[in-house]
Structures are given as structure tokens and as C-alpha cells.
């Protein structure tokens, strides 16, 4: 080694080995793109929807509420996508959870606590089955969860008819359950908004601060190497599928308790909404990269467009066009980011 290199490393004050916080670095962060997109979309709707009270408390809560029901599920779906998997069975898990709550509490009159136990137990089981099938068979998770999407949706319909003779069920819950899962609070915010914020905080910790986050990124980055490094990849995947299914159950529970009713209808739109939120939030479709903050902003963006359009003079159907264009831009940006990250010369600071 040369003199130069030794003098560089053996100074009395150690050189900084972490990127210090700076505005420039903040702009290079991938979730910044998602944030800018959200600000842009928000500004657009704030301008065109100003006259119709888009910015009023109730205008705000209308999109925040919608964001929360998607967002609770989108973050775990983002985790799965980072780990290189996908779960579309959530589209059936949400109505399954709603019906399970409604049948247990509304039809059989069981306490809400028991209903929650049954619902989340069922969700954990569905997630476990998804995880087991994916890890044991190596069939792509899109196909596995497509199968379980139909299986769960069929079972929900069958069991509802068999047990209660109807496909929709009313449900009344005590005040504490209403307040906790499905009530309108100040400004018209639903209870699910607080669950969304709470989950975002907890899952931010898991992905970005705890060691498990490292494992999830490694799993999506290179499965074989992750296995060689001793990461329990099968258990981790099963846990992620269980998390996604239980998040779907939470979202469904909130909706059912809020509306005091449940139907068996499979929610296909929710599948697309979750995937859009995750991709617009900067998670790479190929896995190995993504942020909780990005998914959070992506979900908000989606909700602003879908709810905000009603506050503008534009035709409602245009929201789908906007979302389609946004999705394309996001995918292109994510791709550019990946290429930059994997080809960027490390020598920029060398001189």
C-alpha cells in the first residue's frame, strides 16, 4: 500500500464513514420522489378543488380515510415486494375478515374480543398457508396467492351461506369497539387512520431500524446468499405473508365495524390499489429495495387522486387516467434509480 493511503486512514480524527445529513443527500433518497409526487398531486387538487372545499377538514379526511384502509395493507405488501414476493389474496382476505366479524359478533352474538380472535386467527392461518405454499413449492407467489384469492373468496361465500343463509350481515358493536376500530373522530377522521399511522411507525422501525429489516432486504436482493448467510428465509417469508393477511384483516375489521355491516364481495380494486401505492412509493418490482415512507406517500398520492377528483370540475373517470400515468412515471423513475445505484462509480469522492 502507498504512503498516501496510510496517511489517509491513520489521522488522529477518524474520517467520517457514514453519509452526514445534508439537503443534497435528502434529495437523492428514493422516497423523496414519492414525496414530491404527492406534493405535486396535492397542489393540483388543492388548486382545482379549492372552490369545492378539498382543503376543508372534511375534504382532507375523505382522502386520508381512504388512504388508511389501503395503507394498512400496502405497507406489508411493500415488505413482501421488497422480499421478492407478492400477495393478491388480500382482496379476498378483507371481505373474509369482515364476514368473520359480522357472523361471529352480529349473527352469533359473541363478544367482540372473541370475534377479533377468530378473525385474526383465520387471517394468520391464511397467511401461513400462503407462506408455506410459496416456500415449499417454489411456485411464484403471484400464482399461489391467485389460487388462495379464489379459495378464500369461495370459502367465504360458501360458509356465509351455509352458516347464515345470506351474503351480507349486519353487525352492531359496543362503544369501545366502535371507537377503537370504526368511528368518525374529529374532522371526520376514521379510527383506521390511527391504525395506519401506528402501523407505519412500527413497520418503519422494523424495516429501517431493526436487524430484521436487513434480512428482508437481503432476502429480496439475493435469496441464495441470504440463506448462506444464515437468515431463516423460509420463516421470514411465512411471517411476512402472515403479516399481510393480518393487516388485511385489520383493514376489513375497521371497515365492517365502521359500516356496521359486511358483504362477501371480493375486493379486486383493493389489490390494484395496494400494488399501485407500493410501486408509486418507490418499491422495486424486482425486490431488494423500498422504504416505508415511500409507500406511505404513495398511498396518500393514490388516495388524493381518487378522492380529490370529486372536488374538481373534472370528470371522475379521469382519476384512473391520472393514476395510470403516475404509475408509469413511478416505474420509470424506480428503474432509473436502480440503474444509477448499481452503476454509480464509487470514486466520485476519490479525488
Amino acid at each position: 500500500m502507498t504512503m498516501e493511503t496510510t496517511s489517509q486512514t491513520s489521522g488522529p480524527s477518524r474520517p467520517a464513514t457514514s453519509t452526514p445529513f445534508s439537503v443534497g443527500a435528502l434529495f437523492r433518497r428514493p422516497e423523496t420522489g414519492a414525496f414530491m409526487g404527492m406534493v405535486l398531486v396535492f397542489a393540483f387538487f388543492a388548486y382545482f378543488g379549492f372552490d369545492r372545499n378539498f382543503l376543508s377538514p372534511y375534504g382532507t379526511s375523505s382522502w386520508v380515510n381512504m388512504a388508511s384502509t389501503v395503507g394498512i395493507i400496502a405497507i406489508p405488501i411493500g415488505f413482501l415486494m421488497i422480499a421478492g414476493e407478492l400477495d393478491i389474496s388480500i382482496g379476498a382476505m378483507v371481505p373474509a375478515a369482515k364476514m368473520s366479524m359480522a357472523i361471529a359478533v352480529g349473527y352469533y352474538g359473541l363478544p367482540v374480543g372473541i370475534g377479533l380472535l377468530i378473525t385474526f386467527g383465520l387471517a394468520a392461518f391464511v397467511g401461513w398457508v400462503n407462506g408455506m405454499l410459496v416456500t415449499r413449492t417454489n411456485v411464484p407467489s403471484l400464482i399461489v396467492t391467485l389460487a388462495t384469492l379464489f379459495a378464500v373468496s369461495g370459502l367465504t361465500l360458501f360458509l356465509s351461506l351455509w352458516l347464515t343463509d345470506t351474503t351480507s350481515q349486519a353487525l352492531t358493536s359496543p362503544a369501545w369497539a366502535k371507537a377503537m376500530f370504526g368511528d368518525y373522530h374529529a374532522w371526520g377522521f376514521q379510527s383506521s387512520v390511527f391504525w395506519w399511522l401506528g402501523m407505519a411507525a412500527v413497520l418503519y422501525y422494523v424495516l429501517h431500524l431493526s436487524p430484521w429489516g436487513n434480512w428482508i432486504f437481503a432476502l429480496g436482493g439475493d435469496k441464495e446468499s441470504a440463506r448462506n448467510a444464515g437468515i431463516p428465509i423460509d420463516k421470514l417469508k411465512i411471517a411476512l405473508f402472515m403479516l399481510a393477511a393480518m393487516a388485511a384483516a385489520l383493514s376489513g375489521t375497521c371497515e365492517a365495524i365502521l359500516s356496521n355491516s359486511a358483504t362477501t364481495t371480493t375486493n379486486f380494486a383493493l389489490i390494484f390499489n395496494c400494488i399501485i401505492a407500493v410501486v408509486v412509493g418507490g418499491v422495486l418490482l424486482t425486490g431488494g429495495f423500498g422504504t416505508v415512507a415511500g409507500v406511505f406517500f404513495g398511498t396518500a398520492t393514490l388516495a388524493i387522486v381518487q378522492q380529490g377528483i370529486g372536488y374538481t370540475p373534472f370528470d371522475r373517470n379521469l382519476s384512473s387516467l391520472i393514476i395510470g400515468v403516475m404509475l408509469l412515471i413511478a416505474v420509470l423513475m424506480n428503474d432509473t434509480f436502480r440503474n444509477m445505484a448499481t452503476s454509480m462509480s464509487a470514486s466520485k469522492k476519490g479525488k
Partner: protein, 275 residues
């Protein structure tokens, strides 16, 4: 170094099959502290499978593994790591979209904080990782937050080796570590191997390059179609014999002669590979 020191790691009649495919057959092998075992053999001979068995990735189908003379079974790579066995696998090992610091500590993250609220210690990880790769001669890496994908293939390989050296307390296993490296870095790997031996580690080194094997090997084991075909100490065989064994038993001189002969009669073209 004599055969009287107890082997750190030992395989006794180990078989490994994947379903109907028998990859390893009756492998008996010892590696001692302060000794470099060079594992040689043709492509597909089973070298990587052997070291994956030693590092806990695969479980032996039959046979026994011993560490410090006591039988051990590794339920997974974590247990092998905990026992002080660090491995650089032939492929992968680094994650392009993760930072240098996170890459370095994958699966063995340093944490701070208390109870269940442990937090990945990014600054510590970055500092250790950068120092380790800089010691390795990769002085271009100064920022542990930089994504690994921005590094060259050789730099990433160096990162993986530096990590193994950092975590390898007893045994260091390197599966073709010099394949992606430049002359300088390859020489550095050989120096690292020498250094590890001096510190009393047992080293298992896989390579296809006679030069590299001869430079560091104390002990050689040749694998042919999953079985140990030869097992000898450095002073027991000549350089030519070792080169011949590495070519899968065929005499290197014969091979060269046949290629030369072919080229003489075919306008200097090399012969097509034989099936």
C-alpha cells in the same frame, strides 16, 4: 506443523446426495489450526458442495463432522458461524441495493438499545466495514452508506472476503475467492490467507489456479467426481504432479502437447472442446 495437532474441523466418511444425485462420496478430510488446505478439482467435482456442508448450508446425508475432535451437527449456517466458521461462497454474498455497512453485517447485525427495541447500529457498522475493506486495499470506499451495487465485481468480492476475515474466528473457507480479482487484489487475498494461517486459523481454499494453490497451500486434497482422489502435504508432490491432478488426473504436459500439436496442424486454432 505436524500431524499431531488436533484437527479443528474434520469430516469422516461424509456422503451428500440431493435426492438421487450423489454429489459427495465418503469424504474424509482434516484441517488443522495454522494450516491451509487447498481443495482442488475439476468443475462439478463437488468442491462447493463440500464446503457448503462444512458451513452448515447442507446437512451431510451420511457420515460425521467433528470440530476440535467432538462430533458436531450444524442445523444451519448460523450455527456454523457461531462456531467460528466464516465462509465466502463462490457466488453472490453481496446485495447491490444495500449499503456497504449493511452488506458487511448481513445476518450478524450490530445493535444498540435495550430489550426488544434493538436498533441496527449504522454508524458502528459503517465504521467497521469501511475500515475492513480499506485494510483490504480498497481505499476508494470511504462511505459505508454507499450502495454496494456501485462497486466493481472485484470490490464486492473483496468486501465479502473482508467480512469473512472479520468474523472467522477459527475456520476461514474461501470458495474461488480470486476468480473475480485483479492481480493486486488476488495477491492480497493470498497475503490474507497467509496472515490467517499465522494467526492460527484453519483455512480451506478452493482455486483453479496452480500458482495460487502453490503459493499458500500446506495440504492439498483433490476431488474427482465427489470423492477424494488424492490427499497429500506440500512436500510430498512436485509442482507438476499437483498441476496434473488439478487438471483432473490428465497429465498437463500431455494436454499441452496435444493442444500444441493440434494448433500446429490447424493454422494456430485451438481444438474444439471435447464432450
Amino acid at each position: 506443523m505436524t500431524d499431531t495437532t488436533a484437527p479443528v474441523l474434520e469430516m469422516k466418511a461424509v456422503d451428500k446426495s440431493f435426492g438421487p444425485i450423489d454429489v459427495l462420496h465418503e469424504i474424509t478430510l482434516k484441517v488443522r489450526a495454522g494450516e491451509v488446505l487447498c481443495l482442488l478439482g475439476d468443475n462439478g467435482a463437488g468442491k462447493s458442495t463440500l464446503i457448503k456442508t462444512l458451513s452448515g448450508v447442507h446437512k451431510p446425508t451420511r457420515g460425521e463432522m467433528l470440530m476440535d475432535g467432538k462430533p458436531v451437527t450444524f442445523s444451519g449456517p448460523k450455527e456454523a458461524q457461531a462456531a467460528g466458521i466464516a465462509t465466502v461462497h463462490q457466488f453472490g454474498g453481496t446485495y447491490p441495493l444495500m449499503s456497504v455497512g449493511r452488506n458487511f453485517f448481513i445476518g450478524q447485525e450490530p445493535t444498540k438499545g435495550w430489550g426488544p427495541f434493538k436498533v441496527f447500529d449504522r454508524h458502528k457498522a459503517n465504521a467497521i466495514a469501511v475500515e475492513a475493506v480499506q485494510n483490504f486495499g480498497i481505499t476508494r470506499i470511504t462511505d459505508g452508506d454507499r450502495l454496494c451495487g456501485g462497486l466493481s465485481g472485484g470490490e464486492r468480492q473483496s468486501l465479502a472476503i473482508a467480512r469473512a476475515v472479520h468474523f472467522g474466528a477459527r475456520v476461514l473457507i474461501l470458495d474461488e475467492p480470486t476468480a473475480a480479482l485483479g492481480v493486486k487484489q488476488a495477491a492480497h487475498v493470498l497475503r490474507i490467507v497467509g496472515e490467517a494461517r499465522r494467526r492460527g486459523l484453519a483455512v480451506i481454499f478452493i482455486t483453479h489456479q496452480v500458482m495460487h494453490a502453490m503459493a499458500v497451500g500446506d495440504h492439498f486434497a483433490v476431488l474427482i467426481r465427489g470423492a477424494i482422489a488424492a490427499d497429500f502435504r506440500r512436500d510430498e508432490k512436485s509442482r507438476e504432479e499437483i498441476a496434473d491432478l488439478m487438471a483432473g488426473g490428465e497429465s498437463m504436459a500431455d494436454l499441452e502437447a496435444s493442444i500444441d500439436g493440434y494448433m500446429d496442424t490447424h493454422d494456430g486454432h485451438a481444438p474444439p472442446p471435447t464432450a
